[in-house]
């Protein structure tokens, strides 16, 4: 989300429908609709793209006019919020509780000391400890009208924003049409129904960093898929691989985590959180998901 890309959409005719492509949230995005009606496809594509861009504008920490920036620049003062923001904060709160503090949307400040550029730049323990002073979801107070963010603390919706956008896009698609639709925002995706009766969508899932591997092809009847991984974003020092998934409680990256986990769930945001929570289990990532009877693919 660090640079605002050109906002236009491109419609192409596919075998059994239309594909609408656009760029958002620093990812290539695609909507597939099983309809030969170009006008319908274009309208649906616009609706979905506008919704995704709206969410990007509202919750990107890199956009100075976003709600996120307003909260982060509030210097401890109370800030009014709307219903949507409240619901997102509520969801983040649930994730914090479920992970017992390992997943924390105020942990974004750690990104300043952890530069996941693939180098061996491991911050020193003192730096990490100092950053931890500015992390702690429990110090944030909010209700349906207001949020109070302590000074020097920041909130980051990066861990849930894209998946949320997929689910919102799906809601809009379902309001607009009963046709089969698949929304894919840079690999996090959802489908409302099978492409045709009992014919699944074929989805290629990229594994950046695995040069020999072709994209994994997954067939999805309906539901959502989300992938969490560190194929490109990690640090390597003394043969220890530090993933970009940080433990908000310790300020240190999770070690021994799979490089990538793809999870299936009814909604994309669920899939995304489950994938992230699983990565936070480190070596136990797979058994965590297996115990929950969740369908997933992990790459180590």
């Amino acid at each position: 989300m660090n640079k605002r890309s050109v906002r236009n959409i491109e419609v192409t005719v596919t075998d059994d429908g239309h594909s609408i492509c656009f760029d958002a949230m620093a990812s290539p995005c695609e909507v597939l609709v099983a309809s030969n009606d170009s006008k319908l496809a274009l309208t649906l594509g616009r609706l979905i793209a506008d919704e995704v861009w709206r969410i990007e504008d509202k919750y990107s920490r890199y956009q100075p006019t976003s709600v996120c920036s307003a909260i982060n620049n509030s210097r401890g003062k109370s800030i009014p919020i709307d219903q949507e923001t409240y619901l997102l904060l509520n969801f983040a709160d649930t994730c914090y509780q479920l992970s017992e503090g390992v997943f924390d949307i105020t942990s974004g400040v750690l990104q300043k000391i952890w530069q996941f550029d693939g180098s061996s730049n491991i911050p020193c323990a003192a730096e990490v400890k100092k950053s931890l002073e500015n992390i702690g979801w429990l110090n944030v107070s909010f209700d349906e009208q207001y949020i109070i963010m302590p000074e020097n603390m920041e909130v980051d919706f990066g861990g849930i924003g894209k998946e949320y956008a997929v689910d919102r896009a799906m809601i809009i698609a379902n309001e607009f049409t009963e046709l089969p639709v698949l929304v894919n925002l840079g690999g996090d995706l959802a489908a409302n129904k099978p492409r045709k009766v009992n014919v699944p969508w074929q989805v290629g899932i990229e594994h950046p960093g695995f040069i020999e591997r072709k994209p994994m092809v997954v067939s999805l009847l309906q539901g959502a898929l989300a992938t969490s991984g560190d194929a490109k974003r990690f640090l390597l020092k003394d043969n220890v691989r530090y993933s970009h998934i940080l433990n908000a409680k310790t300020g240190w990256p999770i070690v021994q985590a799979p490089r990538s986990i793809t999870v299936v769930a009814p909604q994309c945001i669920q899939a995304g959180i489950l994938a992230t929570l699983a990565l936070m289990q480190g070596a136990q990532a797979e058994s965590f998901l297996t115990e929950q009877e969740i369908k997933f693919w992990a790459i180590r």
Binding site: G118, P208, G209, A231, K232, R233
Partner: protein, 89 residues
């Protein structure tokens, strides 16, 4: 390394080709020894990962070309095995 015996005749006869071979091999060895400074980090493989950057980006084209040139010229292989395989030569 110990060199016990030397076949002088074959040495002089093959001197030219040996010189070529030696210099090419030493080039390879220099590359090998210098290779620790060459290469990229795993996250820098964006371009190398592209299909068109594979050393054999189109195996079918290569197989067809190999077959044509194997049957029309005296040389074969080099990139991959140039063995037998058909009666076209």
């Amino acid at each position: 390394m110990k060199i016990n015996s030397f076949n002088r005749n074959s040495f002089s006869a093959n001197l030219a080709s040996r010189t070529v071979k030696c210099s090419l091999f030493s080039a390879v060895i220099i590359l090998v020894s210098g290779c620790s400074s060459l290469g990229v980090q795993p996250w820098e493989r964006d371009l190398l990962a592209k299909e068109e950057m594979a050393l054999t980006s189109s195996p079918i084209d290569s197989a067809l070309d190999d077959h044509i040139y194997f049957s029309k010229e005296a040389s074969s292989g080099g990139k991959s095995f140039g063995g037998g395989g058909c009666g076209c030569n």
